[in-house]
């Protein structure tokens, strides 16, 4: 009888894991699809001469990033969590996915972590577009996925870590930090790293006039930017709803429970936050500029998503709307403040969209929270301890990101130089860094060999000195 129960329980576990981990794999692929979204969003906001460079940065932080995150980053996450929790056991062997014993879900779990890490890394390229040295960027992307980002989930997520209930800070305040899918852990980390990087690299040539007033440098395709935004939003469903990784739970008696309520709340709040962010930004842009602006609306939609990303599992539906409205409305003023007051040339507004929105949305969680998923979703204030913890968490993540980004870029500056030359900035990074043209117009005749010397009159080579070539054997006295 007991043996039968155990057997039943074992197959129930197998079914549970199959359903949950296939779901996790599917959302990994969805989150990966945020990469083309970022590539389009950033490409559209730069001039045509720098599109190839933006695409290279987006591809490189993925390709280099996954390798670095496998070898180093994932381990850093586990180690930074264990080191900042009292009594936690530190095991290097189990921290590295390629070192310790491999369970049935080890590699799936690694991929799930990796797609989040690459999202944080790719945000930065939008801030430093059109003037950063490619080598310095690749170096930064590698450090970002090896150390800067991985420490954040180590601190805030999982069973231990500085900001969790068991960590040193969480223990001191009495509650754990709430950031469900990474509004601050992923997005604010990327947004602030971008802001610091844009500051250190310096503004693009011509971005500020001699009086320090900003001059607009319009991007080359709003179509690409908006299309990228919507593709990002699609991938975001994986980012948020996928973080609700447990779809099916098996009890000890082999009975299954479907976690539809939790999944539904996350899906609903993600959608409402996105809508509210877009509407608020559209209204603010209308008020500010006189007409509703597509790019601001797109930025607001993303800011709404960032804002609710930490909150989706624990706030009321109207809380998600409120967060979306607040962060969406703040996108335009935050961007203007970055550019006009801080004088930082954040090309794609990544601080306004990812940094500011992530911080505000996450701090607002205790104010609009729900008591639980018991079918009522009644409002509940989570208390001042929780509010304090949210603020402390945001500050810790911001401080870590600022300090490590500055150190990394100082090293990159010494090794490679942060900026391309003035001349290269003029001709564009596509030509300068990669020798390509993303929008070639007239090309040669396609001959694999260089065409024979072309002369204006069809005769001998025309020389600029007006002379004629002489036969080398001829006596030229």
């Amino acid at each position: 009888m007991i043996g039968e129960l155990l057997l039943q329980s074992e197959s129930a576990m197998a079914i549970q894991n199959s359903v949950n981990y296939v779901w996790v794999l599917v959302v990994c692929f969805l989150i990966f699809f945020m990469q083309p979204g970022f590539a389009l969003l950033e490409s559209g906001q730069v001039r045509a001469k720098n599109v190839g460079n933006v695409l290279m940065k987006n591809m490189t932080d993925w390709t280099v990033g996954v390798l670095v995150f496998f070898l180093v980053g994932a381990g850093v996450t586990a180690i930074s969590g264990a080191l900042t929790t009292s009594g936690a056991e530190l095991s290097i062997e189990s921290a590295m996915p390629w070192l310790g014993e491999v369970g049935s879900t080890t590699f799936i779990g690694w991929l799930f972590g990796a797609v989040f890490a690459m999202t944080a890394a790719t945000i930065v390229s939008g801030a430093v577009a059109e003037r950063m040295n490619f080598k310095a960027y690749v170096f930064f992307a590698a450090v970002m996925t090896a150390i800067i980002y991985p420490v954040m989930p180590g601190f805030a997520w999982g069973n231990n870590g500085l900001l969790t209930a068991g960590g040193y800070l969480g223990d001191a305040i009495g509650v754990g930090y709430i950031d469900f899918a990474g509004a601050t852990v992923v997005h604010m980390c990327g947004g602030i790293a971008g802001l610091v990087a844009a500051y250190m690299v310096g503004p693009r040539k011509g971005r500020y006039d001699e009086n320090g007033n900003s001059q607009p440098i319009p991007g080359h395709s709003m179509l690409l930017a908006v299309l990228g935004t919507l593709i990002l939003a699609f991938g975001w469903y994986g980012f948020n709803v996928g973080t609700q990784a447990t779809v099916l739970s098996a009890g000890a008696d082999g009975a299954f429970t479907f976690n539809g309520t939790a999944l539904g709340l996350v899906a609903l709040n993600t959608t409402l936050g996105m809508g509210a962010g877009g509407v608020a930004a559209m209204l603010v842009s209308t008020f500010w500029q006189g007409k509703p602006d597509p790019l601001w609306t797109a930025n607001g939609l993303l800011a709404g998503l960032v804002g609710v990303t930490g909150a989706v599992s624990s706030v009321t539906w109207w809380g998600a709307v409120l967060i979306g409205l607040v962060v969406g409305a703040l996108v335009l003023p935050t961007f203007r403040w970055t550019v006009d007051s801080l004088k930082i040339d954040d090309v794609c507004g990544v601080f306004a969209v990812h940094g500011g929105a992530g911080a505000i949305g996450t701090i607002m969680i205790p104010l609009v929270a729900t008591s639980g998923t018991g079918g009522t979703f009644a409002y509940e204030f989570l208390g001042f301890d929780q509010l304090a913890m949210q603020i402390v968490g945001v500050l810790v993540i911001a401080a870590w990101t600022i300090i490590t980004t500055m150190i990394t870029l100082k090293i990159a500056d010494a090794l490679f130089g942060l900026r391309v030359s003035d001349e290269e900035e003029d001709i564009g990074l596509d030509q300068g860094e990669h020798g390509v043209s993303v929008y070639p117009e007239f090309t040669g005749d396609g001959a694999p060999e260089p065409s024979p010397t072309v002369t204006a009159d069809g005769g001998d080579d025309v020389r600029t000195d007006g002379g004629r070539p002489t036969d080398a054997t001829e006596d030229t006295e």
Partner: protein, 117 residues
């Protein structure tokens, strides 16, 4: 009239008037034309563009340049047809120029002069 009796009519018009101009040129029997997207400045006042809340001045307006080369059809008729097709009465309607053409050669047949046109 130039010596070769061939003339080129160059017109800079509003992009949205291209369809009307093509229609009116076809009606007078001069359907051949070359079209280019161009930017230019004339009497049309500059407008302001906006990028992320920052305004910038656009004084080179998007126009379409139409080039027609005619021999037997009088250039005045072509000018009249383009004028009718492209006219709105607002600043920025564009200009029409007539230039003499020294020679013409049809690439396919090798015909020269009036026959080539």
């Amino acid at each position: 009239m130039s010596e070769s009796d061939i003339e080129m009519i160059v017109a800079v018009i509003r992009p949205d008037k291209l369809g009307d101009v093509k229609q009116s040129l076809a009606e007078i029997g001069a359907p051949s034309l070359t079209v280019t997207n161009v930017s230019g400045r004339g009497s049309q006042p500059s407008k302001t563009g906006q990028w992320r809340g920052e305004e910038y001045v656009v004084d080179l307006h998007q126009k379409v340049k139409v080039e027609c080369v005619v021999a037997e059809i009088p250039a005045e008729d072509v000018v009249e047809a383009i004028k009718e097709g492209a006219h709105t009465g607002e600043k920025g309607d564009g200009k029409i120029f007539v230039l003499p053409v020294e020679s013409a050669t049809q690439i396919r047949t090798g015909k020269e002069g009036v026959e080539a046109v």
